[in-house]
Amino acid sequence: MKKIITVLIFTFTLTSAVSAQGFLSKSQVHGSFEVDGMYYQADDALGITDEEINGNVFGFNGFADIIYTLGDFSAGFRYEAYLPPIAGFDPSLDGQGFPYLWASYTTEKFSFTVGNFYEQFGNGLTLRTYQEWTLGYDNSINGARVVYEPVKGIILKGVYGTQRYFWAKYEKNGRGIVKGFDAELNFNDVFSSMADSKVKLIIGGSAVSKYQSDQKESLKLPQNVGAFAGRFNLGIGKFNFSSEYSYKINDPSAINNYIYKAGDALIFSGSYSTKGLGIFAMFKRIDNMSYKSDLDVTSNALDINFLPAMVEAHTYMLASMYPYATQPNGEIGYQVAITYKVPKKSKIGGKYGMGISINYSQINDIAREKANDSTDGFYEPGTMGWKSDFLKFGDQVFNRDLTIEIDKKFSRKFKSIFKYIYQDYDIATILGHTGDPNVKAHIGIVDMTWKFTSKKSLRWEVQGLWTQEDKGNWAAALLEYTISPHWFFTIADQYNYGNKHSYERIHYYTGSFGYTLKTTRFALTYGRQREGVVCVGGVCRQVPASSGFYVTISSSF
């Protein structure tokens, strides 16, 4: 609360210098709100009893984000409340307050921010702070940031501060202090001779360091851990290539079991794009690149860097059952995606054309072997951990995904999407089901939409997932009636008909409706939520099975 008062006093003091009339005409306030509420009920089929709920029948997540702007000055805050957090969100979020407070002064060449801020260097391999509401994730830095653009095309950034850790205040000898610097040079902006060139080139580099005092008696810890990265983006006509390599010095932590080997990461991607055709390929390798500002934290918090995911992000009910979570201790893989638009009025394309996309990705463990140095030990605390050939794939497949999608419009009123997915998923490593074999699943999806009028439409999905592993086969269906732009009504069911245990052959049914008025949206859902995992960008949280009402209200101005 003291922080809020400080920001308000600061804002008031600054604005008092401006005439009241000018102040009112130049000031702007923007904001957004969201509340998500869950009412739990007992459900024998899911094994949820009144005894287990134990009176905790409500879960509540909510936030309000307010931004005030006056000329070059802006300030804002975010209020958050988790009273208590909805099931599946980290219980450490329990509480309410103002975790995000900031003030910023920005001119054409400079920007100076104090308080909380989000920042990203390149792809984030050395630093990325962000907030993801659906994960309950926030690793914002509380400190200061300077951005300087001496000439157009050169951007220099510096950050310094400590990261948010739920509601815990920073204390001396607690979590680490983060400092970082990034520089980016856009050749086409800086050099006039390249202004109109077909070759577009941007290069950049970053350096980040965290300081955390050595509080462990048993290990000799590095108090300052640095990470460095270099990157480029090269466009040549219809081709584009992008890459970033990052290196981190010894950083023993709970995530890597306190080993001392250096970490590195490489991302390389290339794409070709022309009318009707797009080709994208990517290679990624990560080796011991978890980088947190507290070496003992294993939960989704205090990440300094971000390791991008490299899989198709599935949104359909059954296709999202086995989402991939990036493995920071090591993974190597590639992805190839091709999209092709069959032209209109062709034999296959018909009157409206047809879209085809094929996406294949594979991620394996890196090939590891004993380091054979003086520290001895494989993957053991206080050792080098392992050594690994840079381009060698390990035997263990973490994730393999083949997705083939065809979208076809048959008439002005009728369109559909057909999708086939094959997944090979290491449920033991990713979800911690140690000893379980990889899940090999075939998934088929048909998604059809019929437009009655320009505002009324009916969409239905039929899905099937077939696998011998984990919980066996699933079927799902969804019916959604939309009256644009205000109303939607949906009923859906996921049925685990192939479960080897008859008592687990459960229907996960839901019914929901929603109303949207301008920027305000209300939605109410009743039904069952199956146990699973929610992932955004390779960062995941576990969601327990639940039953009851779910309401969400959001608005912005």
Partner: protein, 286 residues
């Protein structure tokens, strides 16, 4: 203005370039954890439906060996509480057993263990930045500095078991080693080893998966003798270094409490913080 910002950036660059501590082997610093009289309480919150819990039990068990092979520095209580500890006869008859206790359920609710997903535990009920609950991977880190502290109090236990009446009489003596302030409480409880019963498991190195029908449950909390939160060592709550606090408790054993497999666990904690300052354990029958 421009110079000020550039200066800030230059200072930042310089400090980052100087911010790399390359550590050279050996990385492990040898400390003598056999020295000292402080014992640490590990409360392993578990349940027979929790597939990862056997691994946590192994971690707790191995900590004694790891820190000091010559003598036990840890006392373990296996608290069966929460969703995974529920009897589940309807879905699978092998999980009909109920090892939950009134004290365990109350502690679980208060400290928030099962709400965070088992397995997890409390280490001397030390409160960290996000609460009392720690996942097994960090138990060692929390426990290590505690072992190096001198014990604020010493506890001795004397047991006398009446086999005819199936009743235990246990004398608990607490002697403070330094002047302390605050309200100190004593909890006395019974734990039991060698309970053979089904347990979900996903680690083949520990036992059959996914269900180990002959899993050996150790340190299972059977109940507290003097209430869920224990009782004050002195009538006023405050304690004196020169006084030995002692009290005898009697406890009738239930039919399935095998005296040969049971222990008395006694621990003293500061009520204001809930942190345990000393713990001791003694078999009911030697």
């Amino acid at each position: 203005m421009k110079i000020r910002y550039i200066t800030i950036l230059l200072v930042l660059i310089a400090s980052i370039l100087n911010s790399c501590d390359k550590v050279t082997p050996p990385y492990v610093e040898k400390l003598d954890y056999c020295f000292g009289n402080k014992k640490v309480l590990i409360e392993d919150y578990t349940g027979h439906g929790c597939v990862n819990c056997p691994q946590a039990a192994v971690i707790a068990h191995d900590m004694n060996e790891k820190f000091c092979a010559e003598r036990d520095r840890f006392v373990i209580i296996g608290v069966h509480a929460g969703y995974f500890a529920k009897p589940d006869f309807e879905n699978n008859p092998v999980f009909a057993a109920d090892y939950t206790t009134e004290a365990g359920d109350t502690w679980d609710t208060f400290f928030g263990n099962s709400a965070m997903g088992n397995p997890n535990g409390l280490i001397d009920r030390v409160e960290g930045p996000t609460g009392y609950v720690y996942y097994p991977q960090s138990w060692e880190d929390i426990a290590a500095p505690l072992l190096l502290e001198p014990a604020q109090a010493l506890i001795t236990i004397s047991n006398d078991f009446d086999t005819e009446n199936n009743t235990l009489a246990t004398l608990i003596k607490t002697n403070f080693q330094e002047d302390v302030t605050g309200t100190y409480k004593l909890i006395v409880c019974i734990t039991q080893n060698n309970i053979i019963s089904a347990q979900k498991n996903n680690d083949e190195s520990i036992g059959p998966t996914p269900i180990d029908s002959a899993y050996v449950h150790n340190h299972v909390l059977r109940g507290t003798i003097n209430g869920t939160w224990g009782e004050n060592l002195s009538s006023s709550g405050s304690v004196d270094m020169s006084t030995t606090y002692e009290k005898t408790y009697t406890q009738l054993f239930a039919d399935d409490w095998i005296p040969e497999d049971c222990q008395v666990v006694a621990f003293v904690y500061l009520e204001e913080t809930k942190q345990v300052i000393q713990v001791e354990e003694l078999k009911v029958l030697e």
